[in-house]
């Protein structure tokens, strides 16, 4: 195959990807003063090389369009920005298509569930969608019902607390939590500057800074163990820690915070080994099941974890003694 020097190098992605980027780039660059490359990179979530390739694709059209073609564009590019003049088309982005409308509906429903806004989140989302119908392409609504995709990670029973947490985060208001720590004999009240809600491994956590602990005091609380969230409306908004990246306090795919974790090995019987192998990394055992070594921040977690498998999971020391103590005291 020979090179075709007269044809611009295609930017990454398929033709529809490129077209969608161009349909957003064009109206933005037609504003007075144009648009900077930095802004376009943020807007389109692509790098400078891709932007350049997209613009090459636009400028190359001059080589085949007839003079005076209404589709012809005047394009000015300097080191920082691009400005485009169009005699007619592409002055606005397109309306939302069917998939975008579907994403919007799913987003509204997910939000309603997360916020615990209504017992019938579908109705709530539909009402909002009806108000936003003017942004949809004419065909979009026909194509999006009935809805086949759902985020069921947000349990309705948590709705009110999640809603309060999100309000407190948005308004930067301190909160007081009634929290039942695993193994505690009663709930305790904790002060928190809430920063983010985290969903991991099927559970929700409220992460924030504990103002009554020496910094850095970022803590995560399991939402299903929070009994109450009281927003301190009278308090001043707290200062958002800067810089703050929640990932600095999390493992890549789970919430795990421990200053000094203990390693505990657990053997799982052949009856349940298949499920365990799906969830954890470990080693198969000679003639009997599967072995996993867990970093343990909380002894109660290990005990509950082992007990949930009945006699099909057995912990090595020191977990073995913890489990025996928990079972023997009944």
């Amino acid at each position: 195959m020979t090179d075709r020097p007269d044809r611009p190098t295609p930017p990454p992605g398929g033709a529809i990807d490129r077209l969608e980027r161009l349909l957003l780039l064009l109206p933005r660059a037609q504003r007075k003063g144009g648009v900077t490359f930095d802004e376009l990179e943020r807007l389109l979530e692509v790098d400078r090389r891709t932007l350049r390739a997209d613009l090459d694709l636009l400028t190359a059209r001059a080589s085949y369009l007839r003079a005076g073609d209404p589709a012809d564009l005047q394009i000015t590019i300097d080191a920082e920005r691009v400005e485009i003049f169009s005699p007619g088309p592409f002055h606005r982005p397109p309306r939302l298509g069917a998939r975008e409308a579907l994403a919007l509906v799913l987003g509204l429903r997910t939000r309603a569930l997360v916020r615990g806004l209504a017992d019938t989140p579908a109705t709530h989302a539909d009402a909002l969608l009806a108000r936003l119908e003017g942004v949809l392409a004419t065909r979009a609504l026909d194509d999006i019902q009935p809805l086949p995709v759902e985020d069921a990670s947000a349990r309705p029973v948590d709705g009110l607390l999640r809603d309060r947490a999100l309000d407190a985060i948005a308004e930067r208001r301190p909160v007081r939590l009634r929290y039942l720590k695993p193994g505690a004999s009663d709930a305790e009240v904790r002060q928190l500057h809430p920063l983010t809600l985290v969903h991991a491994e099927g559970r929700w956590y409220l992460m924030g800074e504990a103002p009554d602990r020496p910094p850095p005091a970022v803590r995560s609380f399991r939402l299903d163990r929070i009994l109450e969230i009281e927003i301190e409306d009278e308090s001043k908004p707290f200062a958002y820690p800067d810089p703050f990246d929640p990932h600095d306090y999390l493992e890549p795919s789970r919430v795990f915070q421990a200053a000094d974790p203990v390693e505990v090995t657990v053997d799982y019987s052949p009856k349940i080994a298949r499920w365990i192998e799906e969830r954890f990394e470990g080693v198969p055992l000679e003639g009997w099941g599967f072995r996993v070594t867990h970093p343990v921040a909380d002894r109660e977690w290990l005990v509950r974890h082992v007990l949930r498998y009945g006699g099909e999971a057995v912990a090595h020391s020191p977990g073995r003694e913890w489990v025996i103590e928990a079972l023997d005291h009944r």
Partner: protein, 366 residues
């Protein structure tokens, strides 16, 4: 035509520009003459293949949400034929004006700030959902809806973080594949690993929905061989094949009133025959566990005192194991048989730990 041949992206852009610059529907001849990517070249492809190229482009643009209408027009000397139209008012997003910020002009759409915030928050949430099949569309919708807004009007970013499970990247492709079949209502065939039976079997099914729960994606589908609704874990599906016959024609319709609601997070002890109400098991939660039982609505409360709750159980064993995991603060009050089983489970687990002698790991290669 002289000069270079336009790329496909250029041709699609030119087609949109051409159609949107005509107030009235245009026929196929005008399009093939007016859009450089189709312009007839004596040395180029046949008129039939050029026409097919236009048909493919039109279909792709419609799939991408570009509302190209087909309308009958009168062609000189040929009578009625199909014409094509892309009306500006259908194509372009109206200017979004927040209520209370000046008066909307003609062609502008007034939206309440709270509604727009809700839309942006919802879209951001699904963009962050691991392996969400419409992530690209959600991102694109976000960009469009924020097109007219200044940064200060957008408010704070939503404060929800989904941690991606390590397997998500591999799962994303499968979920996207399934969502495509689901939207087009196409039957699928796949291999499924049934972990309870430790066997892999071929299945045929009609996708009914996709559910994200407990940080995993599930496909709800009508199993054509077992004639029942089943929930399949996506990471246990392999070799998925979508019925390739009549790709633009649905293979089935979703039943009226179809909802994924009944499939949302069910506990292991609730799984089973939906016609069976389940055995009622009454459990007393001692303080402080009663606080969690009430907070999380475990089972059904019996009024005051709220410490006794009733579970409707189709499979006893998962409930017993769950109760054991809660420690001695959860006790079965009734029936006696279930209480005795829980006690036997406790003793068995205790015995397993007292008598435990670890075995060595399996040697590699065995």
């Amino acid at each position: 035509m002289t000069g270079p041949t336009p790329t496909k992206a250029q041709r699609l852009l030119d087609l949109i520009a051409f159609l949107s610059s005509h107030r009235f529907p245009v026929g196929i001849d005008a399009i093939l003459d007016g859009v450089p990517g189709y312009t007839r070249d004596p040395a180029g492809p046949s008129p039939e293949s050029t026409r097919r190229k236009f048909e493919r482009d039109k279909a792709e643009l419609r799939d991408a949400g570009i509302p190209i209408d087909s309308v009958p027009i009168q062609a000189p000397g040929r009578g009625e034929e199909e014409g094509y139209r892309l009306r500006s008012r259908d194509f372009y997003l109206p200017v979004l004006r927040l209520l209370g910020e000046g008066t909307a002009s003609r062609g502008e759409l007034e939206v309440r700030p709270s509604e727009l915030r809700a839309a942006l928050e919802g879209l951001s949430q699904v963009v962050d959902l691991p392996a969400f099949p419409f992530r690209r569309a959600a991102r694109s919708a976000l960009r469009k809806l924020t097109f007219d807004l200044a940064a200060e009007q957008l408010g704070e970013a939503p404060a929800i973080l989904h941690l991606e499970p390590a397997r998500t990247a591999a799962e994303a492709e499968t979920v996207a594949h399934l969502s495509d079949a689901l939207l087009r209502r196409k039957e699928i065939g796949f291999d499924y690993y049934a972990i309870h039976r430790d066997e892999r079997t071929g299945r045929r099914a009609q996708p009914r929905g996709l559910l994200y729960q407990a940080s995993r994606w599930y496909l709800a589908a009508w199993d054509l061989d077992r004639e029942g609704l089943r929930l399949f874990r996506v990471d246990r599906m392999d070799n998925i094949e979508v019925n390739a016959r009549s790709p633009r024609t649905p293979d089935y319709a979703l039943p009226a009133g179809h909802s994924l609601e009944p499939l949302r997070e069910r506990q292991a002890w609730e799984l089973g025959d939906d016609a069976d109400d389940g055995e009622p098991i009454r459990v007393r939660f001692h303080p402080p566990l009663d606080l969690l039982a009430h907070r999380n609505q475990w089972g059904e409360g019996d009024g005051n005192p709220a410490t006794v709750r009733t579970f409707h159980v189709r499979r006893r064993e998962p409930l017993l194991r769950w109760l054991l995991g809660l420690g001695g603060d959860a006790r079965i009050e009734a029936p006696d048989g279930a209480a005795r089983e829980l006690e036997a489970l406790r003793l068995r687990t205790l015995e397993a730990h007292l008598a435990f002698e670890p075995v060595p790991p399996r040697r590699s290669g065995t």
